[in-house]
Symmetry: C2
Subunit: 463 residues, 2 copies
């Protein structure tokens, strides 16, 4: 596989020169005359407000080619062990491939379906409490909050701070509460201490989602659903890790969620680079970060239901691509992952948009518009336009002027539903993978979290 440094690719030098040459071009002068967009099933990606032109896009696509993108994509989608430091695949796409999924995946989905249907019809449980952290929390939490239909009260506790579990248990009765303990190793300290506290509280029924079946049985788990080595935590919402979410939204909706992602997988596999949405998202991110100097990336879903999406994407992007050595172990001399942050619009407008419009650093943004309400779509569009155009009236006092030329994209979908959320998350997953290929890093390990864990253990044992 290609391991040439991106900065050693001919396209990189061409992009540097190209960026230099485009410095004086303002979005104001481009926007009126063009529409840059790509389509995937149910999604339109409008990147007219990015500081790119046809040449930029061609050079970025060349960079992907020179980095051997097609071969890497094939390796991802066919389950090759591309997570080289752990000698594992990153085969999350196999979790949502329908009849083409591996047997163990289909069997697990069938078991989930039976369990979820029982739980939702029997009404034995009034409360489901998910105990997990990181990838075992953020995904199911996002789904349950966005798509829960109210049939069950589904809550989450992730923090070692006991208050988190206390809040999740407010008003609950041990007799009618089901705990779902989610931990690949069944040793995650936060999760295990919350599981122990749940038992102490009187918890009777525990399900486990884990690859350590032995430990789960010893703990007393009534049902155990699998986690697999070939799925990373932050890519695991499609697996049994999504169990609590499936309880909240119903299994049919969970299937829709998988189907939406699978549609995007097909698009990602087949669409030519210049019309491939996750590839475009990735390339434009590389352009903004490596050639225009952006240090952060804002995600602004104009939907209260998606208010947890920025937190979800923080893990997905930053844990995957917050890396400083390449696949050969060489320290990098170019930036990798930006800081990803954001908030639900319109709320964000009354908080930090001042800095987006008039701060000294440029923050590229994704506006996510589900076409829920005219007022939401209008606000998303207005913010994107204000960022791009700015003001051009020298008569205004300086503090009322907006420089504009600040890049953003619009992700347009029709409605808040499971299929669309599946599409959206899959887009970002493939964006992250594609950027990892460009940057020549392993997006699928997370060695950076080990030292802190070890030190915390030492400190606790000393006390």
């Amino acid at each position: 596989m290609n391991t040439r440094s991106p900065t050693g690719c001919p396209a990189w030098a061409q992009l540097l020169a190209h960026a230099e040459g485009r410095r004086s071009v303002h979005l104001r002068d481009l926007l009126a005359s063009r529409k840059l967009a790509a389509e995937a099933p149910g999604v339109r990606y409008d990147f007219s407000r990015q500081r790119v032109d046809a040449m930029t896009l061609r050079l970025l696509a060349n960079l992907a080619d020179e980095r051997g993108f097609a071969e890497w994509r094939e390796a991802l989608l066919s389950g090759k062990p591309i997570n080289s430091t752990e000698k594992r695949a990153a085969w999350h796409t196999a979790l949502r491939a329908g009849e083409s999924s591996p047997r163990e995946v289909r069997d697990t989905l069938a078991r989930m379906k039976a369990l979820v249907s029982n739980i939702r019809s029997e009404k034995k449980f009034r409360r489901i409490v998910n105990l997990g952290t990181g990838g075992s929390d953020l995904g199911p939490r996002l789904l349950a909050e966005a798509l829960g239909d109210g049939a069950l009260e589904v809550r989450f506790a992730a923090n070692a701070d006991p208050r988190d579990l206390e809040r999740a248990l407010e008003g609950a009765d041990p007799q009618t509460t089901l705990f779902v303990v989610v931990s690949k190793t069944f040793t995650t300290p936060e999760t295990m201490s919350n599981a122990a506290a749940a038992k102490k509280w009187g918890g009777k029924v525990f399900y486990a989602v884990t690859s350590n079946v032995e430990a789960a049985k010893q703990f007393g788990a009534g049902e155990t659903l699998p986690m697999w080595d070939w799925v990373g935590g932050r890519f695991s919402v499609w697996s049994a890790v999504g169990f609590a979410a499936a309880c909240a939204m119903g299994f049919d909706a969970f299937q829709e969620f998988l189907s939406g992602a699978h549609e995007i997988d097909t698009h990602f596999a087949q669409a030519p680079l210049e019309r491939n949405i996750p590839v475009l998202m990735a390339l434009i991110g590389v352009w903004n970060g490596n050639f225009l100097g952006a240090a952060t990336h804002a995600v602004l879903p104009y939907s209260n239901a998606l208010r947890l999406l920025p937190a979800y994407l923080q893990q997905l992007e930053m844990e995957s691509n917050g890396k400083r050595v390449d696949r050969e172990g060489r320290p990098l001399d170019y930036p990798t992952c930006p800081v990803v942050w954001g908030m639900e619009g319109t709320v964000s407008q009354h908080s930090f948009h001042q800095l987006l419009h008039q701060g000294t650093q440029i923050v590229p943004a994704d506006f996510i518009d589900l076409s829920l309400e005219k007022v939401l779509s209008a606000n998303a569009l207005a913010q994107a336009d204000a960022l791009a155009f700015g003001t051009d009236d020298p008569g205004l006092p300086p503090y009322k002027q907006y420089p504009g030329n600040r890049p953003s994209s619009m992700l347009l979908l029709e409605g808040l539903n499971a299929r669309n959320l599946g599409r959206l998350i899959a887009l970002y997953e493939h964006k992250v993978f594609t950027q990892g290929v460009i940057w020549n890093i392993n997006s699928f390990d997370q060695w950076g979290v080990e030292l802190g864990k070890a030190l915390a253990g030492e400190i606790l044992s000393r006390r």
Copy 2:
């Protein structure tokens, strides 16, 4: 008042040279031999893990002096109209000065006390729903979530997305629900559309917090509490804007909250710069942003109750200091406010700490430790140490290596209570003000949000 550009101050050039000279110094070599800390009532600020030495601190203090900091601070604290573009004071400190507060403040607090006590003792209302956005939402929401004692169910709706209000009204009964409509002008679109929807839902009792008493009366507000021109939205949680929070936590706790802030005001007014916590926080932020190149700043409260603090501080810092022209209207050639972001620890460790430890950009962080649980304090300390020290073992493979030398501070308080939360927020307020002085910007206007508002209005009227 001093309007000299910071980059024109002698200390600025000295700091540039100093930064250059310190490049090869690693925190690993400093930390063992020193303890850098300052104390204020109830708060210890440990900045041993910042990449500063005695000379750095002296030069930064010189910069503050050369920018006329003492005079600006005096102007702030005495209510001078330092918000020059709007010709207003920024006198939030007068909201928490006890007997020294202006008459109208004391009268309002007395009315709040009577109303809150009634509401909490009469039990006529079972649900309080705060309708406001930005500063009329984030502050009371943070307080209510952190310190609500469960006597009343207090909820918040801020988004133009109707789902936000729907969620706040789940399980509520119009007969026992009190709406608090918070908007200085009583024209904020999100707030007014939510207030109208609340009426349509059957809402019977509305209180208003506003300076537009006329409009509130026309709307049918039963009680009206004032907002004042000399308090900015993002500094207003100490005023009647905190009404819903006071209902949630009780008025005594709200008074404690004010007292904690007042203690910090006194500390800020009197402590010498080198022991003045908010000044040190500000100067170290300037050092990290303007001399070490950090583009963002992470806030990591190790407390589930403070999980909304990063969102609160995003508005406080970024709306205040996300500015690109100085007080004389000159475009700036130095960075102002970083992107402020964060999440509750320990949850954050399983999300984005990978990037903090092994990403390509340096993210200065504030670890906030309330000494709630050994496991939380140990984790905060372990993360800070891992960031500072890194690893020094060439035998490890590159992907297991941590460069370290990544700066962070610890804010240490004892316990989760109203006084401590008042202290904490006041520290950040004065940090923000001090940075505004250094950068020679007006931290108290927010003209950057106007263009988007106007465009949204145009788009909506066209549709």
